[in-house]
Amino acid sequence: MNPDPTPSQTVGPFFHDALLDRDRSELVSPDDPEALEIVGTVYDGAGEVVPDAMVEIWQANRAGRYNHPADDRDDLPLDEGFSGFGRSGTDENGGFSFLTVKPGSVPGPDGRLQAPHVMVSVFARGLLKRLVTRIYFPDEEEANAVDPVLSSIEDQELRRTLIARDEGGVLRLDIHLQGDGQTAFLEL
C-alpha cells in the first residue's frame, strides 16, 4: 500500500535565514558569454508587489539536457557546474532575478519537442502550497506555437503570461498571483 502524502503548508514570512542564507540566483558565471538575466516582479490580486516571496527555477542546460539521472540521453552533454537549479527571494519591490543560460529544447509527452522553457515554483506567505508556472522565450515564436503546454491554453491572454518580454537583452516575466492579467499556473 502506498503511503499518503504529507500536506503542504505555507512557507510563512520568516524563511530568509534558512533558505536564502546564500545567493543561489546565479546558475552561471557572469563571465559566461551566453549568460542571460531573467527578472520579474511578483504582484498580488490588488496589484501590490509581494516582497516576501521566494521563486525557484529548474531547467535543462543549453544542450537541452537535465542534470538528473532520469534524463539518460547520453548523446547530449552535461555542463560541468551547471545544476539547473536556482532560488531567489523577492526584494522590497517584489523583484526576483536569475542569471542563467537559455535552455535547449526537451522532449514533450508524445516525443515532440517542447519549446525551450524554465520550470518555476513560487512560495510565499498566503500560499498554502507552491504555485507552479513556466517561463518561455520570446524569440521562439515557432516552437512556442506548437508547444504542448502553451498550445493547451486556449485563452490567448492567459497563454501570453508565460512568455517573457525582451527588455534590451534582459528577459522579464512578471508573476501576477491573482486578478487581471493573472499568470497561468500549472497543476502537476
Partner: protein, 240 residues
C-alpha cells in the same frame, strides 16, 4: 455551508482535502494571493520527472544541531526531531536536503520583521539543514519552539511548529510544510493547520513523542515521517 470560491471548482482536480486549497479565506493572506483562474494541467515530461539534485552542496556537521551554532546553549526544552522521507511508493528518499527553520523557545524568530515582543535568544538562530541517509532518515537537535501571536484574526496564535523544506527526487516532489507537536491546544483556531480539510491528513502534520528517540537526562525525542508526492525517478517511455 456554501462552497467557498476556488474550492472544488475547476482547477482543483485533486481536491481530496489532503492538500490545502489556494484560497482559504479564514487565512486572510490567501485572499489576495490565491489564483482564481483554473489551473492548466501539466502533462508529465522530462521537465518535471527530473528535479534539482540539490543536496550535494556542502552541509556542515553542525548544521543539523541548532543548539550548537553559538558560543552558549539556547534556552528551552532540548529536543531531537527525526524521521524518514519517503516517496509516493514508500521508498526512502536518499541523500536529499532537508532545511528547517523555527521560532525560539519564547516564540520569537530572529527575522527582522518579527515584532512579537518576546525575547531573542543570542544562542539560537533557528535555522538548520541536513541530508537524508540511505534509509531516508534525517535528524535534528533543536529546542522546542514556542507558540506566537499573529494578526490574522482577533487573539490569533500559531501552534508551535517547525518549518521543513524538502526536495525529493523530482520537480513534482518539492514540498514545504510545517511539523506540529502532539496535543497542542491551538490547533482548533489555526487556519493554516485547518486549511487541510482531511482529518487524517492533518494528523500527518503532527509529530509523535518517541521514547526510543528520547535520550535519558538530555533531550526528548519526536518522530516525524514525511511522504512526498511523485515517484522516484524512472526514465519515461518515448522521451527521445
Amino acid at each position: 455551508m456554501a462552497q467557498r470560491k476556488g474550492e472544488g471548482t475547476a482547477g482543483y482536480l485533486r481536491d481530496d482535502g489532503i492538500q490545502p486549497p489556494y484560497l482559504y479565506p479564514d487565512y486572510v493572506a490567501t485572499r489576495l494571493r490565491a489564483p482564481m483562474k483554473p489551473l492548466v494541467i501539466l502533462p508529465r515530461t522530462l521537465s518535471d520527472i527530473t528535479g534539482p539534485a540539490y543536496g550535494h552542496g556542502p552541509t556542515g556537521e553542525l548544521d543539523g544541531d541548532l543548539t550548537r551554532q553559538h558560543s552558549g546553549e539556547p534556552l528551552g526544552e532540548r529536543i531531537i526531531v527525526t524521521g524518514r522521507v519517503l516517496d509516493a511508493d514508500g521508498r526512502p528518499v536518499r541523500g536529499s536536503l532537508v532545511e528547517i527553520w523555527q521560532a525560539n523557545a519564547a516564540g520569537r524568530y530572529t527575522h527582522e520583521n518579527d515584532r512579537h515582543p518576546a525575547p531573542l535568544d543570542p544562542n539560537f538562530s533557528g535555522a538548520g539543514r541536513c541530508l537524508t541517509d540511505d534509509e531516508g532518515r534525517y535528524r535534528f537537535v533543536t529546542i522546542k519552539p514556542g507558540a506566537y501571536p499573529w494578526k490574522n484574526h482577533d487573539n490569533a496564535w500559531r501552534p508551535a511548529h517547525i518549518h521543513l523544506s524538502l526536495f525529493g527526487s523530482t520537480f513534482r516532489s518539492r514540498l514545504i510544510t510545517q511539523m506540529y507537536f502532539p496535543g497542542d491546544p491551538l490547533f482548533g483556531q489555526d487556519p493554516i493547520f485547518q486549511s487541510v480539510r482531511d482529518e487524517k491528513a492533518r494528523r500527518r502534520m503532527i509529530s509523535t513523542f518517541d521514547l526510543e528517540t528520547t535520550q535519558p537526562e538530555w533531550a526528548l525525542g519526536y518522530r516525524f515521517d514525511i511522504v512526498l508526492e511523485g515517484r522516484d525517478a524512472t526514465p519515461m517511455e518515448n522521451h527521445r
